[in-house]
């Protein structure tokens, strides 16, 4: 009796304290967000006096990277440089890289806890959508206008990828606007058998690769004619034949009728899947292709062992002429043998691509204006960009004929700072090239960008809001996971398995997704007069 009473009392106290505490916490978050808003005002008021002295401010940069031993040295060098070159901005940076593997957990906690940080790397494959939905990012339109002249100079026309609800939430890195996919083969073997790669590049038909695979299979025992990249069929197919809206729904490129379909229902998909399967049956593709896709034991590392001939559906390197077979300098170096790329397809300008690599400003920033000033510097100051990307000259890299190389006797593992993710921030074209790369790499990029920009996708600017079909998408994703590896590697017979797959997708609600896509697409067309 007594203990029961005690229990009641305890539970009541617990409950009430829980309520009090939760009340507290929601209060603190509220005050937290309001306090993060008020500095915005002070920021814009101080911003009027840019030329006069701003209060010192530390811009915290969050981005994914593996651990760098000399991070602090680089940070100090950046700060010294900022101090001496841009004293009027009165700012320092704090580099806060987050490990790739910890990225999701850590950034979510940082956002949610109201921890102070300013710029953050984000992308549609790193949760950009949900960050915008949660209100974790600041809209950048006004800031861009005021503090981003150098960003606007190169990226003005390319904000659509990161625009949501009419507001810009991310700044696209100025880089290549698309990619190019095709086939990669080993140079030595291609020369040995006098393969006509130029003809293949001209016809751009996967089928025309088959005789070469056959020759290798018959004459080179121990060499796998074709090894799988993660999803070779998909990579090539999605870029070349479809305008993807969200996997697996898109528009077939050849019919410009704005009709959304699931790609598993298209003839193009079936043809490629059948071809892949027939190659697999004839032994042209490695037997473990479906599992090596999952373990990241991908085609490139298989190439490295020296017993593979070709990879289909790979991303090409951007070279001066992207329509003919060409050497692949960077990959060749990685793999340790000469490779030749045979381009099949050049991307058109796609909205999705423009949200692949962006920098955003966090709502936890105490001075978004200063954050934007820093971002702008990365679009104009090559010196700052090199510090961030390559580290300190002489310590972490040396210049050889204007190209970046590792210092004598150092490897990427022991040099102390090997960030090498130039695609993450700023104007990538301002960077040095690496030894081994085409010194004209960025000229090639500019030229390539002209080609891409001249060929915008018919749905350029359209962004799908996946919120209404969120649950269906999860179910669909689960179905696809069980089939994709098998189909993409050619292990499964598409004539048997694809019907099973599509019926399961139906049960998962694919029709609803297609209808939703169609609906939003029609609305977008009406609004944009397409």
């Amino acid at each position: 009796m007594n203990s029961k009473k005690g229990l009641t009392v305890l539970l009541t106290t617990l409950l009430s304290s829980a309520i009090v505490f939760s009340g507290c916490s929601s209060n603190t978050t509220k005050s937290g967000s309001s306090s993060s808003e008020s500095p915005k005002n002070t920021a814009s008021s101080t911003a009027a006096a840019v030329k006069s002295d701003l209060k010192p401010y530390e811009v915290v940069m969050v981005y994914p990277d593996s651990t760098q031993r000399d991070l602090e040295k680089v940070q100090n060098a950046m700060n010294e440089y900022l101090k001496s070159t841009y004293p009027e901005m009165n700012m320092t940076v704090k580099l806060n890289p987050v490990d790739w593997g910890a990225w999701g957990d850590k950034t979510n906690l940082m956002f949610a806890s109201g921890e102070k940080f300013d710029t953050i790397f984000t992308a549609n494959w790193l949760g950009f959508e949900s960050q915008v939905n949660k209100g974790a990012l600041l809209p950048l339109d006004d800031l861009l206008k005021q503090y981003g002249p150098d960003i606007e100079k190169v990226e003005k026309d390319y904000h659509s990828g990161a625009t949501r609800g009419g507001k810009i939430y991310g700044i696209h890195t100025h880089q290549e606007l698309g990619g190019s996919q095709g086939i990669v083969v080993r140079k030595d073997l291609a020369e040995k058998y006098h393969f006509d790669l130029a003809a293949l590049a001209k016809s751009r038909k996967m089928e025309d690769l088959e005789p070469m695979l056959k020759t290798i299979k018959e004459n080179e025992p121990g060499i796998t004619p074709m090894v799988g990249l993660p999803l070779p069929l998909e990579a090539y197919f999605k870029s070349g034949k479809m305008e993807m809206i969200l996997d697996p729904v898109g528009l077939v490129r050849s019919n410009k009728d704005f009709k959304a379909v699931s790609y598993y229902d298209t003839d193009e998909y079936m043809n490629l899947a059948r071809l892949t399967h027939s190659w697999f049956k004839q032994g042209y593709i490695n037997k473990d292709a479906s599992t090596s896709v999952q373990s990241n034991n991908d085609g490139w590392s298989k190439m490295k062992t020296g017993n593979a001939f070709a990879i289909a559906g790979a991303d090409m390197e951007i070279v001066s002429d992207n329509s003919v077979p060409a050497p692949m300098p960077i990959r060749s170096k990685q793999v340790g043998m000469d490779l030749i790329q045979i381009p099949f397809n050049i991307d058109s300008l796609r909205t999705r691509k423009l949200a692949d690599t962006t920098q955003a400003i966090s709502k936890n920033s105490e001075d978004p204006a200063r954050a934007m000033m820093l971002l702008n510097l990365f679009f104009k100051d090559a010196k700052l960009l090199s510090l961030f990307n390559y580290g300190i000259e002489g310590t972490h890299y040396v210049l050889k004929n204007g190209q970046v190389d590792l210092p004598e006797g150092k490897t990427t593992d022991n040099v102390g700072f090997y960030h090498d993710n130039q695609w993450q921030i700023g104007n990538q074209m301002l960077n040095y090239t690496r030894v081994g790369e085409d010194p004209k790499k960025y000229e090639n990029y500019e030229k390539f960008n002209k080609d891409v920009a001249a060929d915008p996708s018919i749905i350029f600017g359209f962004i799908f809001d996946s919120e209404p079909v969120k649950n269906e998408l999860i179910a669909i994703e689960n179905v696809r996971k069980t089939y994709d590896a098998g189909l993409n590697s050619g292990t499964l017979d598409p004539d048997v398995e694809v019907p099973k797959l599509t019926s399961k997708l139906k049960a998962a609600g694919i029709d609803k997704v297609v209808a939703e896509v169609q609906k939003q697409l029609d609305e977008w067309r009406k609004a944009n007069g397409k």
């Binding site: 005690g6 031993r69 494959w125 473990d288 490295k304 692949d356 993710n421």
Partner: protein, 290 residues
């Protein structure tokens, strides 16, 4: 009966130990196999081409590993000592039937087994209230007290220490602290060893606190270092197809990952046999009523 155990049990135990040992063996073999052979033929139970590169590589660039080892050891040792102290004090208090708030405290401990505050409040307490991020305390404090351990200890104290013993000490004039340190602790070695081992293992295996709280690479623990490399590979494998091959970060070689795993296992594999004799005793006494 006791002399000749059932052969079926032997077979079962043998199978169970095999199931435990085989993966261990595989990891060892992979760590000793040449990388190219691995890429070509995959894993095997006998090294096709024996090779020590992975270990040599780790020795050559040993600073991060040695540091992580040091952090792990410090965290584990300090953590276990503090954890045992507060666990036993709490458990002892609520095991005394003459402690008036016994019920409330027991229930409070029990409640933590059923409900937790969730990730975000947990994170907020440590970063905003205690400000321990990027210090060793961030690795130690979260693992200090586990309700489960407290309850095991409480049962041990309640059942194996006769109240009359405490009473007689009190009559002899011993203070509560004196009783606790001179009577209770020496009598409860088995349970201390058992819980000590539990806590040791959980500290040694902990990586999530490092992931969440630690940015300074000098404070990475061994397990986090290992986990980080594995997580990174998994993550990169997931996103490379989406990011269009833009990520150039090379995943570390397979054999190096396995060699790291072997190195991380070592201390636990060494500690376990020495504590094992207490293990059975402490756990059974702590678990069985009567």
């Amino acid at each position: 009966m006791t002399q000749r155990a059932n052969p079926l049990i032997h077979v079962l135990l043998l199978l169970t130990s095999l199931v435990c040992l085989i993966p261990f063996w595989l990891v060892l073999v992979v760590s000793l196999t040449e990388e190219k052979t691995l890429l070509r033929y995959g894993y095997s139970f006998w090294p096709k081409k024996f090779d020590l590169t992975a270990y040599l590589y780790l020795i050559q660039d040993a600073t991060p590993i040695v540091r992580a080892y040091g952090v792990s050891i410090v965290v584990t040792v300090v953590g276990v000592i503090i954890s045992l102290a507060i666990t036993s004090m709490l458990a002892y208090s609520i095991s005394r039937s003459d402690f008036p708030l016994k019920g409330i405290f027991t229930f409070y401990v029990f409640l933590t087994l059923l409900f937790s505050g969730g990730l975000l409040p947990w994170y907020l307490v440590y970063t905003r209230f205690l400000h321990v991020q990027d210090t060793l305390w961030a690795l130690i404090i979260p693992g200090l007290l586990s309700g489960f351990n407290v309850l095991i200890m409480r049962t041990f104290f309640a059942n194996s220490i006769p109240p009359s013993l405490i009473e007689s000490s009190q009559i002899d004039g011993a203070s509560e602290l004196r009783i606790y340190f001179s009577m209770i602790l020496p009598l409860s070695l088995p349970v201390m060893a058992t819980i000590g081992l539990f806590v040791t293992i959980s500290y040694w295996n902990e990586w999530f606190t490092s992931l969440v709280f630690i940015n300074n690479q000098d404070l990475y623990t061994m397990q986090y270092l290992l986990n980080k490399t594995l997580l990174n590979i998994q993550f990169l494998a997931q996103v490379t197809s989406v990011a269009g091959g833009q990520i150039t970060t090379r995943p570390p070689l397979e054999s190096i990952r396995m060699a790291m795993a072997m190195i991380a296992i070592c201390p636990m594999a060494l500690v376990f046999p020495f504590l094992q004799k207490y293990f059975v005793k402490g756990l059974t006494i702590g678990a069985v009523k009567g």
